[in-house]
């Protein structure tokens, strides 16, 4: 069994970036200044991810205001809607409002991503995107959901053509709701991953028990499913099944507490999961979005994962 570790969610902005974005909003700092700081801190994050020996890099997605915003910017037909609570947290996102079936606008999303090898591109999963968007088109929900899946497919096709090889779908709604009609889910993922795109598709779930999705991975075309181990009872997970060729993601760094996880507890957890589920490989990462913490705290908590990066046996 091979284990690796990686950042699988957004990372928090540093205090320096926070201060700059606040000053920019108050008209006391230029947009260029803020962009320069985003670049500087994206490099810091990439360096951190490299130093930890993580399996891939994210750059933190620091400039993304929420999971959906850059995608809204890469489309026509979706408006930025009302502030809405982000599941059971004290943070909020702008609800995507589908005013008409979305059209892909090329060349927009890549500007949000850093130049780096081994990058993973985090995107909203089609189920969560459709479930959290507001449909004002007057069309059926399923039709709108499929159009959003097509939009995601276009984004991925473009980024793949530019060299991106790893796409990670965030599906908190699947875990939070605890269920989804299998055929509908499969259909959406079929649209997103269609066309032989030369890339790896991964899924990370959080804010609920995502153990039920793991056995579904092959049918969805994803080669990894991550579960939030602060919300998924270990007993539920170990009663699940990990299909052959699917990596199991263990969301074991919890951003809902600043308390650092102990290396020993994680090692024991890995041992228990391995002995009961025998997954071919495991990826250790955050249990939920790390931008629920300040940067320094997130960095400290994630650092414990370096002990698990690149282990085998």
């Amino acid at each position: 069994m091979a284990t690796t570790a990686a950042v699988t969610t957004f990372l928090p902005r540093s205090e320096e970036v926070i201060s700059a974005t606040r000053e920019w909003e108050r008209g006391r700092r230029s947009k260029e200044d803020v962009d320069t700081l985003y670049q500087k801190w994206t490099h810091e994050v990439l360096r951190f991810e490299e130093e930890q020996g993580f399996g891939w890099k994210t750059g933190g997605h620091l400039a993304w205001h929420d999971l959906f915003r850059p995608l809204i910017g890469a489309s026509q037909g979706i408006a930025v809607g009302a502030l809405t609570r982000w599941f059971e947290t004290n943070t909020f996102y702008r609800r995507p409002v589908i005013e008409e079936l979305p059209q892909f606008v090329p060349g927009k999303l890549a500007s949000y991503l850093p130049q780096s090898s081994d990058l993973v591109v985090i995107l909203p999963g089609p189920w969560t995107l459709a479930g959290l968007a507001e449909n004002r088109t007057g069309r059926r929900e399923s039709e709108v959901a499929e159009s959003l899946a097509h939009l995601l497919h276009s984004v991925i096709a473009e980024l793949s053509a530019e060299g991106e090889r790893r796409f990670l779908f965030h599906e908190p709604l699947l875990a939070y709701a605890g269920e989804a009609p299998e055929d509908e889910l499969q259909k959406l993922y079929g649209i997103v991953t269609a066309g032989g795109i030369p890339a790896q598709f991964l899924m990370w779930t959080y804010f609920g028990d995502g153990s039920w999705i793991v056995p579904e991975a092959p049918r969805l075309g994803v080669s990894m499913v991550g579960v939030d181990l602060s919300e998924t009872p270990l007993g539920e997970l170990t009663r699940s099944r990990v299909p052959s060729g699917v990596a199991l993601g263990l969301g074991c760094i919890d951003p809902r507490t600043s308390l650092p996880e102990s290396q020993e507890d994680i090692a024991q957890l890995v041992h228990e999961v391995d002995s009961k589920l025998h997954p071919g490989s495991m990826v250790l990462g955050p249990a939920a979005p790390m931008d629920l913490l300040p940067w320094e705290t997130a960095r400290e908590k994630l650092s414990v994962l370096r002990h698990f990066a690149g282990r085998s046996g």
Binding site: I18, R22, T257, E261, L293
Partner: protein, 378 residues
């Protein structure tokens, strides 16, 4: 301060701090905008107290140099109080003019917490968040000086707002209590640790503070629980924290909750035995084609006769509700609750995100609309 009229009107939370107060508290020269705002609002908050006159006169001249910060803040408190009284409210406070916000202040008066940094609320908005790193305790009861000042100067019944235990816990990270849980911190361990954290805050921070406020003469205390609806499965914990906080204290307790799914909170919240009034937001959800007050049927269905503070003006929009619209909304609430003596009238929440001008107009229309409803009902 006589008996309350039918449909008492009340404030909920903070007003936006005037620029002259913010700049004045820093000392130095006042900006033209701050001076203009001061001039524009003097009629809305007539200061007659000698306490404020010399300070005001100096501020009007454009300088706060040499004025002690506490004095400027007292003037701010008096401004907020008179602003709400002149608008015609029956229950008032001072617009929380001395408070930075509702989380940091209580935490700073407590032990066991350590601020770790800023986290994003949304977009480029952030808040400072603390971790509970040790068992919690109280340095000293807070809001006492502020309340005494308001009580001394209020010409209407003062109602003091206090952030609730559940919200303080939910907006903090729980390290200490989680650390006590052995082994892997899964869902069960996290929930157990959170309950200990919430109940400890209720017993060791909120209860002694409420007791001290009552000893200072507080008769109506509003426990603010904006986080109450964040975790739909934790209603019992919100209730437990409220009951623990208020246990053995003789005062009228009000619980304020807003922007939540009331169907997930009620009827569970009725177990908050010391709560005499639920003060809730409704205007925000009362839009064309939807009766925003229909959730009030929950109160009737459950045969719970407690008072309800009914939000009749939206705090997120600048458009000013007409007196007629306020009147209609009150009558809707009366229809659902069946008994007008159970109805209190208020904005959905604090008006701090609106300008003072907009807040003033909204409050005045609210009072006028209440008058229309009173006439209809008597």
């Amino acid at each position: 301060m006589g008996a309350e009229p039918l449909l008492p009107t009340q404030e909920v939370g903070s007003l936006r701090k005037p620029f002259w107060l913010v700049e004045g508290a820093r000392g130095g020269t006042m900006s033209p905008g701050a001076l203009r705002e001061l001039a524009d609002n003097l009629d809305r908050a007539p200061f007659s107290e000698t306490l404020s006159t010399p300070t005001l006169e100096q501020l009007k001249k454009g300088s706060a140099a040499g004025i002690p910060t506490d004095t400027v803040r007292e003037v701010g408190s008096l401004f907020g109080l008179r602003f709400l009284e002149k608008a015609g409210l029956d229950l008032v406070y001072d617009g929380e003019m001395r408070r930075v916000e509702m989380y940091e202040y209580p935490v700073q008066h407590s032990t066991g917490f350590r601020f770790l940094g800023h986290v994003r609320s949304f977009d480029n908005k952030y808040y400072r968040k603390a971790a509970c790193v040790d068992g919690v305790g109280l340095k000293n009861p807070y809001h006492l000086e502020e309340f005494s000042f308001v009580k001394e100067h209020a010409q209407r019944l003062p109602k003091v707002p206090v952030t609730g235990a559940y919200t303080l816990a939910d907006w903090s990270w729980n390290e200490h209590y989680l650390r006590q849980q052995p082994g892997w911190k899964g869902p069960e361990q996290r929930r157990s640790a959170q309950r200990e954290f919430v109940v400890d805050i209720a017993r060791k921070i909120i209860r002694p503070t409420l007791k001290a406020l009552v000893e200072k003469g507080a008769r109506v205390i509003q426990i603010d629980e904006p986080a109450a609806g964040t975790h739909p499965l934790e209603t019992a914990l919100v209730v437990e924290s409220f009951n623990e906080s208020t246990q053995g204290i003789d005062a009228k307790f009000v619980m304020h909750i807003c922007f939540s799914d009331y169907n997930s909170l009620f009827p569970g919240m009725f177990e908050a035995k010391n709560c005499r009034q639920f003060l809730l937001e409704f205007a925000n959800r009362d839009v064309e084609g939807r009766d925003g007050y229909e959730d009030l049927a929950l109160f009737e269905d459950m045969n719970d006769g407690r008072e309800v503070g009914v939000g009749v003006v939206d705090i997120h929009r600048d458009n000013i509700e007409t007196a007629e619209l306020v009147h209609q909304r009150i009558m809707k609430a009366v229809k659902y609750l069946k008994d007008p003596t159970r109805v209190y009238v208020n904005p959905d929440c604090g008006l701090r995100t609106r300008s003072l001008d907009v807040s003033w107009q909204k409050l005045v229309r609210m009072v006028e609309g209440t008058e229309l409803a009173r006439k209809e009902l008597t």
